[in-house]
């Protein structure tokens, strides 16, 4: 049966993820060392897992409130206030979602109407542009450049804005580049946002993973930006809780109400045990000075330095990524495209990395390498890559 006439053309028009193809390819190489993962190599700290176990033992198996457990939302409010000077009312301005991914989808569906343009820095996380299309909007890529350390500049943003522009997605610290935005970078963006009357979805899922003395600044904390920003964050990266699928969105009461309308009909609520674990993560963090985060961050930072140093020694141009857990070296000197480089590296050296083009056309010429992997494996992978690069330069 031909289903073409039944399938929603808007959804069908979105090409399959470039990640998927590589996943299939890499899955056939049993001994490959993967630098292609997008999640921590730590397990969720046991104290957090234990909170979920206890909740199951105690028979807590029911739905929660649509917006999430009140105790969790209260902890989120305390956390954002304490860490990023953001004041959100736990009851009316915070919505707990199934990962930050659902929060992004809800925000897009709540705000985007047919024909609206959404500005998306490129390269960026794979789901923004498709999410905009699903919501009926048009994604407009705003190219970021290696010469700017892959920061979004006011100039590039300004050039991409049209009368149809409604929304800017601001994903920093950035996946795949590891770029961060300093306060003064964000302030310049804020002026453009104000001038063109835009709203901003600030995806801050990597906010805790920032290195070498740099600090994360929440976009909503900038003057005039609180009312224009939907702040999105979650537990996957900071607390190594990817599989639990818990995230949240914070914004003006009116926006959260509409997002919650979609959430309550589509999802009902995020799974209870994930919420219980998330609440434990924040409570323990508040009580012990976020010890678990600091330990993991120190460990990532060492591996980050190791990887950046090794790429530079190979002769690959590599800007210093101060956020997330990715390095995004340029492989242009090899004369290969990102796709060719990654395919051949995998086939010849059993090392998996992700071509930059999986994250948008501006990723051409770069590859994403994740350093959330054991040091001994990173070292082996880097040695193999050095061999590969020297053969191709």
């Amino acid at each position: 049966m031909n289903y073409d006439q039944y399938l929603n053309p808007r959804i069908a028009s979105v090409p399959p993820s470039g990640i998927r193809r590589f996943f299939d390819l890499a899955s056939t190489r049993k001994n490959a060392i993967s630098l292609g993962v997008g999640e921590p190599d730590f397990k969720t700290p046991y104290m957090i897992r234990n909170a979920a176990i206890n909740s199951l033992v105690d028979g807590e198996t029911q739905y929660t409130a649509n917006r999430g457990l009140p105790e969790l939302r209260q902890e989120i409010a305390l956390y954002l206030k304490g860490r990023y000077q953001l004041s959100y009312d736990w009851n009316s301005q915070i919505l707990v979602t199934i990962g930050a991914s659902e929060a992004i989808d809800l925000a897009l569906r709540a705000l985007v109407s047919d024909g609206d343009e959404v500005l998306v820095p490129d390269p960026s996380y794979v789901s923004y542009a498709p999410g905009v299309v699903f919501a009926g909007g048009t994604p407009v890529a705003v190219t970021t450049y290696q010469k700017d350390d892959f920061r979004l500049t006011a100039d590039s943003l300004e050039k991409a804005i049209t009368p149809r522009s409604k929304l800017l997605i601001l994903p920093y610290p950035n996946n795949p580049t590891g770029a961060i935005m300093e306060k003064h970078d964000l302030e310049q963006i804020a002026r453009v946002v104000e001038r063109h009357d835009l709203l901003v979805i600030s995806d801050e899922i990597y906010s805790e993973l920032i290195y070498d003395g740099h600090v994360h600044v929440s976009f909503a904390a900038l003057e005039g930006m609180y009312s224009r920003t939907i702040t999105i964050n979650g537990f996957s990266k900071a607390f190594a809780m990817t599989g639990w699928r818990v995230g949240y969105a914070c914004a003006a009461e009116e926006i959260i109400a509409v997002m919650n309308k979609i959430h309550q009909y589509a999802i009902m609520c995020a799974p209870r045990q994930g919420q219980v674990a998330a609440q434990a993560a924040l409570r323990q963090g508040r009580e012990n000075g976020y010890e678990a985060i600091l330990t993991m961050r120190d460990s990532y930072d060492r591996r980050r330095r190791l990887m950046v140093n090794a790429f530079r020694h190979m002769g690959l141009e590599c800007f210093e990524p101060y956020g997330a857990f990715y390095v995004f070296p340029s492989i242009r000197c090899t004369g290969l495209s990102s796709e060719e480089f990654c395919s051949q590296l995998l086939q010849e050296k059993d090392v998996a990395a992700v071509p930059g083009t999986a994250f948008g056309p501006s990723g051409e010429g770069n590859i994403r390498c994740c350093y959330a992997t054991a040091i001994d494996k990173i070292n082996i992978a880097l040695d193999r890559m050095a061999d590969f690069v020297s053969k191709h330069t």
Binding site: S17, I19, F22, F23, A26, S27, A32, S34, G36, V37, G38, E39, D41, Y125, V126, S127, N175, D212, D298, S299, R302, R303, R305, L306, N309, A352, V354, A358, I375, D376, N379
Partner: protein
């Protein structure tokens, strides 16, 4: 302790074969500083030796281990230290700890056979004049030591590639 020293200890405890150059890169310090800090910690007996952690259960070597709770009479002027010294000098003794609670010293003993271990307790440890009593418990299985889990539960369950 400096932040560099603590970072080096973390890294070396995980893998003491890491070369100085990589330690320097990972800590953001110079080669000289790293070498100096390690040298210094060796002199201060913070780093005692560099040795692998071995799961002997997977080898052919037979061995028996026991934890012995020892009650002793502390020695005048020397407290428990003199007693501990008398005990830890035996080759069979792998670790000795002074404990709070219902006994005084916890002694970890290793021998090739049960007979050897029994003979250690009966003819070496118990006859010491300051030892007033012992209770021996044999180790049946090791699950975790020094933070390392012996069962292979740490397999990477992540997807090979994810966004």
């Amino acid at each position: 302790m400096t932040k560099l020293e603590m970072s080096l200890l973390d890294l070396l405890q995980e893998d003491c074969r890491l070369p100085l150059e990589k330690l320097a890169v990972m800590t953001g310090a110079t080669l000289g500083d790293v070498a100096g800090a390690i040298d210094d910690m060796e002199k201060r007996h913070i780093i005692l030796r560099y040795s692998p952690m071995i799961n002997w259960d997977l080898t052919d070597r037979e061995r028996v281990e026991a934890m012995i709770e020892v009650r002793v009479t502390p020695q005048r002027d020397m407290g428990f230290d003199a007693v501990a010294r008398r005990i830890y000098r035996f080759d069979e003794v792998k670790s000795v700890y002074l404990m709070s609670g219902s006994y005084d010293l916890l002694v970890l003993v290793q021998a090739r056979t049960l007979k050897e271990l029994a003979s250690f307790v009966a003819s070496k440890l118990s006859p010491l004049e300051m030892v007033t009593g012992t209770a021996t418990s044999f180790v049946l299985k090791r699950y975790k030591e020094e933070g390392v889990v012996f069962e292979n539960e740490d397999a990477d369950r992540r997807l090979v590639i994810s966004p």
